[in-house]
Amino acid sequence: MIDKTTLWIVIVGLGLGSFFLRFVFTGLVGNRAMPEWLLRHLRYTAVAVLPALVAPQVLWPNATGGDIDPARLAAAAVTLSVGVLTKNVIGAILSGAATLYGLLYLLG
């Protein structure tokens, strides 16, 4: 059972800490100019961080205890391909979900 004091310390601490992380640059730098080399790196934040976040889950999902799962791997490949080809987010999500459920059903 989670201790109530711990819980509220975590909720408030995590809330404040997360806000700080989200505000640190937009809030403190504001509209002061940032150097070109930094901007050049920041342009690749999203395309680097999100794939890094999901890659281990795609290859070694927790749900299968870290074993490679053909259904999840195929779903990831279909989502990415449909997304790249159509640039349609919802189409990519639905194709990925359909692949995942289809293969989980077929492969039992």
Partner: protein, 239 residues
């Protein structure tokens, strides 16, 4: 649809944020369920989602608290999971740094993976948008997402039922993130940044507190920036 007013920017934001409704509903409900399973009351689960709004960090904190990890470790780990938000903040600054402070503070509270990604994608696509239009777009993008994050945390916690493993909800987030990223591979530099980040993250899974993601992200960003410089040089442009 080209954005001409703050209102049309807000509406376009809503339209572009809407697909994520599909994912936010099950994900928020799952957090509510797991939170009540861990012994949190409905109000506590809801407060967690309202105060923090960060799915992955909330799941991390919940799991570590259940394992009775020391409070400081719970906070450090969950904040490490959220460290990418600081990178998002830096990346948003050139676009919205000129907005009024209260708007920047509100946008900071509302910065989640989805709002960050679609907003920066839009800003890059239409660089001529004014700052009020950019803020309008950002707030539009979170309008269909964040309220549902609260509401379905509440519903999940209130119903408190078990989610069958067969629903494979663990994979809702990877699919969403891949779908969000796919349209962003516009240049070779973007592709290289992603590939390098993926390879590094696969080698860095043992790094504690999810810091491997941050390291992988930073190295991927450096790779992207270098390729951009190389492409510019080849095109005879400025370095």
């Amino acid at each position: 649809m080209t954005i001409t007013t703050t209102k049309s920017a807000y509406l376009k934001g809503i339209a572009d944020g809407a697909p994520f409704i599909l994912v936010i509903i099950p994900f928020a409900a799952l957090f509510g369920l797991l939170a009540t399973e861990a012994g949190l009351s409905v109000i506590e689960a809801l407060s967690f989602s309202v105060v923090v709004i960060a799915g992955a960090a909330q799941f991390t904190a919940l799991q570590l608290m259940q394992e009775e990890a020391p409070t400081i470790i719970v906070l450090a780990s969950a904040l490490a999971v959220n460290l990418r938000m600081a990178m998002y903040s830096a990346s948003l600054t050139p676009w919205i740094g000129g907005a009024p402070l209260w708007q920047r503070a509100l946008a900071a509270y509302l910065t989640v993976d989805q709002s960050y990604v679609i907003a920066t994608a839009q800003y890059e696509k239409e660089p001529k948008m004014t700052i009020p239009q950019r803020m309008g777009y950002f707030f539009g993008a979170v309008t269909p997402i964040v309220p549902l994050w609260y509401i379905f945390t509440f519903i999940g916690a209130y119903l408190g039922a078990q989610v069958p493993d067969g629903w494979a909800l663990d994979f809702a987030i990877p699919i969403t993130f891949l779908a969000m990223i796919a349209p962003m591979f516009r240049t070779l530099a973007h592709v290289v940044a992603a590939l390098v980040a993926v390879v590094v993250s696969l080698f860095a899974t043992e790094v504690p507190y999810s810091l491997g993601v941050i390291v992988a992200g930073l190295i991927g960003m450096m790779a992207g920036a270098e390729v951009e410089r190389w492409l510019n040089r080849r095109a005879g442009g400025p370095i």
